[in-house]
């Protein structure tokens, strides 16, 4: 009788204990893929403590792909590329060449899965194009796709944080006391120069950028509740203090204190946008050559110079910033900038060094170029002739090239230093060098090897650091 009366209570307690034994809200591991035509994410599975992803599922939304399994072997065809994998083996054969997968390939119910860590090496081979993979955050960028943003604070009352994006965005927005959280899961947002942005503003003092589990997150800290509004067809997000619901006054009375949510800033309005969030001086300006319709060298039918230079520029920025060198990448998307504009943007930023990045299929290793000045006008007094603006910086440029050459040799990368008639080196009023990366071996496809690119980027960054004092003194 007593059991019967207490039975329901005991059952509830047991159910609660059972529920508590499962971790609540464990997020599924995912990988995000950003391609020019589409963005999507896929689940990541755990096998023997490693992250794996289905290769066919990853490639299907991007192009023509098929697979067939033959016992232990799994063959994949993507466009004109053939790849062959063997169950339990960590070596694959792609386009007739062996590729180390950094973990075993697994065949599960005729479905081929590969270690996530192998994607940075494997996909450029299969796809034959530029692929950037951030393994830590599991974000995969295909074909130079990227969305950049700037953030500026306007000193209006109340102040507003205006974020402009290079493409429309639609983040998930959540608010909590003192924070506004934007989560970008489908947009190829790339990191700003620094993960933490500090603003000289009491209402919105700072923001942080982070990436994890196939998404990017931007958290804006505020001293008051914040709200976001969209304008400019999704390219602009304005964050401002939310309307204060005062118990003493009715809601309509509070409305005038709030800016119209979708009011775009008037272009050129003197008071609207006054402060750049991070008023930074950039030590180095990186210039990924070509872009847009200007593809540069057709390294392979499916591999253009403009894509390789963009990837290398991003790697070099990482390496330089890791060494404490503030860096601006002039072309950080597939955009066309003409040579004069590149020089103007560089000269306006007043860097200590400008690095133009090129790629080539002929030769081996890296070639470093300094300006071959044309027979132009002499620089006279405060006036500098455009075509020979580099003249007074040529010694610094040559010192930088030598410094970089030494570091490349230390890494056993072939290097050659030459002068070259390569614009806009002549027009830059700072030390200026061009880095032309050729493949490490006869296979042009190896230009895309993440390890090789990283080696080159690290050597160039080391070289800049080595001559930093000399360059700084010459300014």
């Amino acid at each position: 009788m007593r059991w019967n009366r207490d039975g329901p209570h005991l059952a509830v307690v047991l159910l609660l204990l059972l529920a508590a034994s499962f971790p609540a809200g464990t997020a599924e591991k995912r990988i995000a893929i950003y391609a020019p035509a589409t963005s999507y994410s896929l689940p990541v599975v755990d096998r023997n403590g490693r992250d794996y992803v289905g290769l066919l599922e990853l490639l299907e939304p991007i192009g023509n792909v098929s697979s067939r399994s033959d016992g232990l072997h799994w063959r994949l065809r993507y466009s004109d590329a053939e790849a062959e994998f063997t169950n339990g083996q960590n070596l694959a054969k792609v386009r007739g060449r062996k590729v180390d997968l950094s973990g075993d390939f697994l065949l599960e119910s005729n479905r081929g899965i590969v270690p996530v860590s192998s994607l940075g090496t494997l996909l450029p081979r299969i796809m034959g194009g530029a692929v950037t993979f951030n393994e830590t955050s599991r974000r995969l960028f295909i074909g130079g796709v990227a969305t950049h943003f700037t953030a500026q604070v306007s000193r209006t009352n109340p102040p507003r944080l205006v974020m402009n994006f290079t493409a429309p965005v639609n983040p998930t927005i959540a608010t909590e006391p003192g924070k506004l959280r934007m989560s970008f899961s489908r947009e190829p947002i790339v990191a700003p120069g620094s993960p933490t942005l500090t603003f000289d503003d009491k209402a919105i003092p700072s923001a942080t950028y982070s990436e994890f589990n196939g998404a990017a997150e931007f958290v804006i800290n505020g001293t008051a509740p914040l709200m976001a509004s969209f304008s400019n067809e999704g390219r602009t997000i304005t964050v401002a203090a939310a309307p204060q619901q005062s118990s003493a006054s009715p809601a309509p009375a509070a409305a005038p204190a709030v800016p119209p949510p979708a009011a775009p800033l008037a272009p050129g309005a003197p008071a609207a946008v006054t402060t750049v969030v991070t008023p930074r001086h950039f030590y180095a300006v990186l210039d990924a050559s070509h872009g847009g319709d200007d593809r540069g060298v057709a390294l392979l039918p499916q591999l253009a110079e403009k894509d390789v230079t963009l990837v290398l520029a991003r790697r070099l920025r990482q390496e330089l910033e890791y060494r404490g060198i503030s860096t601006l990448v002039l072309r950080d998307s597939d955009a066309y900038i003409n040579l004069d504009e590149r020089a103007i943007l560089t000269n306006t930023a007043h860097p200590v060094i400008y690095i133009s990045i090129h790629a080539a299929s002929d030769g081996r290793g890296v070639r470093l170029y300094t300006s071959l000045l044309p027979a132009g006008e002499e620089n006279n007094g405060p006036f500098i002739a455009w075509d020979t603006a580099q003249t007074r910086f040529l010694a610094s440029s040559q010192a930088a090239a030598q410094g970089v050459a030494v570091e490349l040799l230390k890494k056993q990368i072939q290097v050659r230093t030459l002068a070259a008639p390569l614009r806009p080196l002549n027009n830059v009023t700072a030390a200026a060098i061009a880095v032309e990366m050729a493949p490490p071996d006869p296979d042009v496809m190896d230009l895309n090897l993440a390890g090789y690119q990283q080696n080159v980027a690290a050597a160039v960054a080391d070289g800049i650091v080595a001559v930093r004092e000399r360059l700084g003194a010459s300014q």
Binding site: V297, E305, A360, L372, L373, G376, A419, A420, P421, E436
Partner: protein, 195 residues
């Protein structure tokens, strides 16, 4: 009664005429299908002059170098024509089979103008630039090779400008700057680096 052998001979001849008609028709239709090959290259004037020793600076893609090469070329006495013939001799090497630095088929030098004091203008045709391989080194080798060949054989040239089809062009194939005059002294230094 017509002799049998005569009948056979006539039949054989008729058959031959019939087959030749078919063949002629086939050849005619083939000729109309094949467009006439037009050589658009300008016809150079006949060269008159004794063969002379000249130094050409030849680019080698495999090593990325420029090497001087002495050749014997018939050179006219007029300075501009000498310049054209020298550069045509160099271009001939690049267009030949097994070239160390292949240039686009159909590439041609339209004219070389020597303007006092010390200025030379080389005018290439569009095929030269439009079909040129892209790349900093590949383009630089071409530019340096032509300029150095010119200045090594015709002293007194201080500045060289390269035109394409008589017009300015920003770059040769995306890299080497063609928008300004080249200082031959600076080019000579690059050539020294490239040897």
């Amino acid at each position: 009664m017509i002799p049998r052998h005569l009948v056979i001979a006539v039949l054989v001849l008729l058959l031959a005429v019939f087959l030749m008609g078919i063949y002629a028709g086939h050849m005619r239709s083939r000729a109309t299908r094949t467009p006439a090959i037009v050589d658009s290259r300008p016809v150079p004037p006949p060269i008159s002059g004794p063969a002379e020793q000249a130094t050409l600076y030849v680019a080698y893609d495999d090593s990325g170098t420029l090497r001087p090469q002495t050749v014997s070329v018939p050179l006219p006495s007029a300075r501009e024509q000498r310049a054209e013939e020298l550069l045509r001799a160099l271009l001939g090497i690049y267009l030949s089979k097994g070239s160390p630095h292949p240039l686009a088929p159909g590439a041609e030098i339209r004219a070389v103008y020597l303007v006092t004091p010390g200025i030379a203008v080389i005018d290439f045709n569009a095929a030269f630039a439009n079909g040129h391989r892209s790349g900093v080194l590949a383009e630089e080798l071409t530019v340096a090779s032509f300029i150095q060949t010119l200045t090594a054989n015709l002293p007194g040239i201080l500045r060289v400008r390269i035109l394409v089809d008589g017009h300015d062009r920003e770059t040769l194939a995306g890299h080497a700057d063609l928008s300004d005059f080249y200082d031959t002294g600076a080019v000579a230094q690059v050539v020294a680096q490239m040897q």
